[in-house]
């Protein structure tokens, strides 16, 4: 990503301004990944319906992770899906953000005592915005997207991306013997 995306560099005036412009553009053009998991996915679709219409804020779905900026984790993540979710996150091009939508993605929700449910998607990917609710209303998702917008463009709110996250789950794909990552 180079110079523009790095947060460690001292801010001089010209580059700082350009940086702000790019971040403004990023915050105003967040394309989420089409990745519906469970109940929240229906409300996620409803966020783009005529009543709420997140497209007003310049957001529309991209199907391929390469072109998406935001991953909305909309539903329960279990251990079988966790590897795939991490793979999708890794496939997204920088800069990228994650919204954890609903109780299940936040901490497992009503299913957190199950044997195969991951207790919160933040054990797998770094999360920027959490939305409570089961499922959250479309308006709540819209508000989360707008919060994320402010977080990206506002210098005060901008955060440092954790380089590594502690995880109990074996979700990082290892290259196989032929050097290629195996099909999950």
């Amino acid at each position: 990503m180079g110079l523009l995306g790095s947060d460690e560099r001292p801010r001089d005036i010209i580059l700082g301004t350009l940086d702000d412009l790019i971040n403004l553009a990023r915050s105003r053009s967040m394309w989420p990944l089409t990745f519906g998991i469970a109940c929240c996915a229906i409300e996620m679709m409803a966020t783009w319906d005529p009543k709420v219409d997140a497209d007003r804020f310049g957001m529309f779905f991209r199907n391929t992770p390469r072109q998406a900026d935001v991953m909305i984790v909309s539903g329960t993540v279990n251990k079988k899906l966790a590897k795939r979710l991490r793979r999708l996150y890794d496939q997204m091009a920088e800069p990228k953000w994650v919204i954890s939508m609903g109780a299940c993605a936040n901490q497992g929700g009503p299913f957190r005592h199950g044997y195969s449910v991951v207790e919160g998607v933040d054990k797998i990917v770094p999360v920027d915005v959490y939305i409570p609710g089961c499922p959250p209303r479309p308006e709540a998702l819209l508000q989360a997207l707008l919060l994320l917008r402010d977080k990206i463009s506002d210098r005060e709110l901008r955060y440092k991306r954790p380089q590594e996250i502690a995880t109990d789950y074996d979700v990082f794909a290892e290259p196989g013997e032929d050097g290629r990552i195996p099909v999950l």
Partner: protein, 375 residues
């Protein structure tokens, strides 16, 4: 690891390409994964994989009381809300001998049919999205929002209302309910010709679906398929008629069937079901008393012994539950019979030999919902 793919490359066949569709794919309606062998655009082999949304419903529900079980069932077929609660409620009522007032039965049936319309509207939008048309999706979601608004007024929640309870429903109808539903039905009847025009009468939809993915009557029955998929294959099996529950014996409606068994027939049957739901709702709006009991007497702490299988006809087919009680206040075992779970088994039957684009259309006509399939 190879067994997780489920589809081994055949040695010496270089003309077959194995692609992995899902779990993240726009046309899988959730987290289905189908490993597909392609010869050009023609599908030679297809192995479906499910379980990416396995949420341990059955195990968790064993450690919850019967009242706590009901909201869990909401999360199964999350598109059709209260419909999921009914089998458990019916089975427990049977076992505990709880009487349900007539008015409560009618209220339940009205919500049941409202959610059937909502679910079919979601299906219509997403199916057309799979076929490449964007606009119907937004129209149908708009109409669905109206239904959810009506539900929210009475039940307090939009999608997963946790509204049915043992002996009736949790709270009385909102005073505007009858007016709202009547308004919505008028609105829907104005919209349905548009939908027919956009979907059923569309020549491109005809070209994509007629004669595609034919499921024969015998195969459909043997596969345990139910709901619109079964009725599109010519079997007039509908739990509402076969094993009536709630207020269905008191209303008149027909079971639309088609003998074609193809994707278009499945589309057509769902459309006719919306009309039938409108018909049922209109009758119930007339019949339901404006005031009266909405809940029978049910013990605050249910203790149940015995076993019971009860099924309802939800938007996708026969949604059953097998409840085993051991005399305690928690179920000993609950087994959910998902309608889409059985419907999805026909994927290899229908996919093999079809074009890849046809597979998308076929999958959309099966209308899977993964909360119910993976449970």
């Amino acid at each position: 690891m190879s067994s997780t793919i489920g589809l081994e490359p055949v040695l010496g066949r270089s003309d077959e390409m194995i692609v992995n569709m899902g779990p993240q794919h726009p046309a899988t309606h959730g987290v289905l994964r189908v490993v597909i062998g392609l010869e050009g655009e023609r599908i030679t082999r297809a192995v479906p994989h499910i379980g990416y949304l396995h949420r341990n419903h059955e195990k968790i529900e064993e450690s919850r009381t019967y009242f706590q079980v009901v909201p869990f069932t909401d999360r199964m077929d999350y598109v059709s809300g209260t419909q999921n609660e009914l089998p458990v409620v019916l089975a427990v009522e049977d076992l505990a001998g709880i009487e349900v007032p007539e008015r409560a039965k009618m209220i339940r049936t009205m919500f049941f049919e409202l959610f059937r319309i909502a679910s079919h509207l979601v299906w219509m939008g997403t199916a057309m999205l799979d076929l490449g048309a964007i606009t119907p999706f937004l129209y149908t979601f708009w109409d669905r929002e109206i239904i959810l608004g009506i539900v929210e007024r009475t039940a307090g929640a939009r999608m997963l209302p946790n509204y049915y309870t043992f002996g009736g429903v949790r709270r009385d109808l909102h005073p505007h309910f009858f007016k709202d539903v009547a308004e919505f039905l008028d609105h829907l009847e104005k919209r349905m010709p548009d939908y027919e025009h956009l979907v059923l009468e569309n020549p491109i939809v005809h070209a994509r679906t007629v004669g595609v993915g034919v499921l024969s009557k015998e195969r459909a029955v043997a596969r345990g398929v139910s709901g619109p998929v079964l009725r599109a294959s010519g079997v007039a099996y509908d739990v509402r008629k076969a094993f009536p529950y709630d207020a269905y014996p008191e209303v008149e409606f027909e079971i639309p069937t088609s003998d074609a068994g193809d994707t278009y027939a499945r589309f057509w049957v769902r459309f006719q079901e919306i009309y039938q739901s409108v018909k049922i709702l209109r009758q119930l709006l007339e019949k339901t008393p404006k005031t009266g009991p909405f809940k029978g007497r049910a013990p605050a702490r249910l203790k149940i012994s015995g076993e019971r299988y009860r099924a309802v006809e939800n938007s996708r087919g026969e949604l059953g539950v097998y409840v085993v009680g051991d005399g305690g206040d928690k179920p000993y075992r609950i087994k959910h019979r998902g309608a889409a779970f059985s419907n999805l088994q026909v994927i290899p039957d229908l996919f093999i030999g079809a074009k890849f684009s046809d597979a998308i259309a076929i999958l959309s006509s099966l209308d899977p919902v993964f909360g119910e399939i993976d449970r």
